[in-house]
């Protein structure tokens, strides 16, 4: 076995913090040593071996086999290597991630890619609220990297987002890109209410359905061609996503600018097929 596999034996009654389990933190450790690593479980301390069967050898790839909806902070702060979750992931998936790759076959709970700085995060199912956002009380959301969601996402995705790319193949909830300060969020599905609310800069790209009518604090800039969209489209070419196959006959789009109450340098772009 060329990778380390952790199989969850049963559902824990409380949430488990898995931030200690990243390829770089486990480097050089034996399976026995990994099983002895402490895991925070509610108010009591437990160990990896108490909840997981540990198999294989440590390398750049870690596989977590679980319905992990109570497994929080998977891949937190990782900067290298690959984490694959066979099943669902809990909250704070990839929080503060700096590099490497995380792939979840199922869904992820709230605050996935929160304060992410680099790397690639792919979620095969849906993602919860505050995808790519800042932690409550903080003002720095996602600052780099790429997030791909094959399903739909919850409310307030990209809240306080500064840089980076979020690609959502399904729908998004309300207040997508709220308080956004940069970066790009692209959507193939339907958007919820008030996209871009209080955004200062950044791009919300609606490549599928038209966005809901922007609020009064967005000005309609009409239709016009935007050449940078070709750069954006080409950069998606190698990604494991429907966005890689997106084709558009021209760069002519409809554009709204706003939020005018917050500087008005953000943009909502509708790019029909």
């Amino acid at each position: 076995m060329s990778h380390l596999a952790l199989r969850l034996r049963g559902q824990p009654p409380f949430r488990l913090d898995l931030s200690v389990l990243t390829p770089e933190r486990l480097a050089g450790m034996s399976a026995e040593a990994i099983a002895r690593l402490p895991l925070s479980h509610g108010r009591r301390a437990s160990s990896v071996g108490e909840w997981f069967d540990v198999r294989g050898s440590v390398g750049p790839r870690l596989v977590i086999e679980a319905d992990g909806s109570k497994l929080d902070r998977i891949g937190a702060g990782m900067s290298d290597g690959e984490v694959r979750v066979e099943g669902n992931a809990g909250a704070y998936l990839g929080i503060g991630m700096r590099g490497g790759r995380i792939e979840v076959s199922g869904r992820a709970d709230a605050f996935a890619a929160c304060s992410m700085v680099g790397g690639t995060l792919k979620i095969g199912g849906d993602a919860g609220d505050f995808l790519g956002a800042a932690l409550p009380g903080e003002h720095k959301g996602m600052r780099g990297g790429t997030v791909i969601v094959s399903g739909s996402i919850g409310d307030r995705a990209g809240d306080h987002m500064r840089r980076g790319l979020v690609l959502v193949e399904g729908d998004c909830g309300s207040y997508c890109g709220a308080r956004m300060q940069g970066g790009t969020i692209a959507l193939l599905g339907r958007a919820g209410a008030r996209p871009g609310y209080a955004m200062r800069r950044g791009t919300l790209l609606f490549a599928g359905e038209a966005p809901p009518a922007p609020g009064a604090s967005f000005n309609d800039a009409g239709e016009l061609p935007l050449g940078f969209l070709v750069l954006l489209l080409r950069s998606w070419g190698g990604l494991p996503s429907r966005f890689a196959r997106l084709q558009r006959p021209s760069t002519r789009v409809r554009r709204w600018i706003g939020d005018l109450g917050f500087g008005g340098q953000g943009e909502l772009i509708q790019w029909p097929g």
Binding site: G182, G227, F228, S235
Partner: protein
């Protein structure tokens, strides 16, 4: 050594270290991309008076450019990184930013970054937008025909300037024909340019002058009209000498370019009036890159 009857001097071209960069200029169509590139590389024949040496490297199909539009790659060389940065900013700002539908991108993947859109963005007066796409930062600067797209920086590389060879011919027609054939062949070599008008220079220079204010003056040893006045390098029968100067991003680019040009000039042969090929050097004391002619044609 003789090739096709053309005498090849046992000498070498002496070239110098420079700093260089490649830009890719795209536009709505090839004509406008060329227009921007021609403007940007104008008045860039010699660092002696122009601050830099620049030229069009080749034309690019839409599939070869970052934004999928027709484009042109240009090379720019200067004697220092500071001067290269200054020339880049001025020339792109005045000649590419101003050219309808243009966009500009760096054409070298790695190397010390030179500001490109990084400084030009201020033309947007606060309305410019930054986008990081595929790990590179681009600037979208609003202009009257839409948006000017410029990559944030262009990479700089060590480069070589002053590769050269001289065509000694029986007359003007023969010299021009040989020079034109050589330049045409050399334009197929990537990574190198010939910065003088049409790739050819007739006013080859030597270092210094009898006048204190001049750092270079006419290469009297190769002037036909001075054959009887100075220590001339010209045989009787040589009535016209033209020089081709080459700047390249790498030593191999300069060497390959020189080889292509020398072969093309020899191809016309002595029967067409091409009598000798020589090269300019300073005795090997000034430039660290030497390109002997005879091995290039061996």
């Amino acid at each position: 050594m003789r090739v096709n009857g053309v005498a090849i001097d046992d000498t070498f071209a002496e070239a110098f270290a420079m700093r260089g960069t490649r830009l890719i200029i795209t536009a709505h169509n090839l004509a406008w991309a060329r227009q921007a590139a021609v403007s940007m590389t104008g008045f860039a024949t010699s660092v002696i008076g122009c601050g830099c040496e620049a030229g069009i490297e080749r034309e690019l199909a839409p599939a070869q450019t970052p934004d999928g539009r027709p484009g042109v790659s240009v090379l720019l060389f200067a004697t220092s990184s500071a001067e290269l940065g200054k020339q880049l900013e001025r020339r792109v700002g005045q000649c590419v930013l101003t050219s309808p539908t243009s966009a500009v991108f760096g054409g070298i993947e790695s190397g010390r970054p030179l500001p490109l859109g990084k400084t030009l963005r201020y033309f947007g007066d606060g309305h410019q937008i930054s986008k990081v796409i595929g790990g590179k930062r681009y600037w979208r600067v609003p202009v009257m025909d839409g948006e000017f797209i410029a990559e944030d920086t262009a990479a700089m590389s060590d480069a070589i300037g002053g590769g050269n060879f001289l065509i000694l011919a029986a007359g003007t027609d023969a010299a021009l024909a040989a020079a034109e054939a050589a330049v045409e062949a050399m334009r197929q070599v990537p990574g190198a340019i010939m910065p003088f008008p049409g790739g050819v220079v007739r006013s080859g220079s030597k270092v210094g002058s009898k006048y204190k204010t001049l750092i270079a003056s006419t290469n009297d040893a190769y002037c036909p009209t001075l054959r009887a006045s100075v220590d001339s390098e010209l045989d009787v029968g040589v009535e016209c000498v033209l020089e081709i100067v080459i700047d390249g991003l790498t030593e191999s680019a300069v060497r390959d370019s020189m080889r292509a040009g020398l072969r093309a000039a020899c191809g016309l042969g002595s029967a067409a009036g091409v009598l000798r090929l020589s090269a300019g050097n300073y005795g090997g004391k000034l430039g660290k890159f030497h390109f002997p002619l005879q091995p290039l044609l061996a």
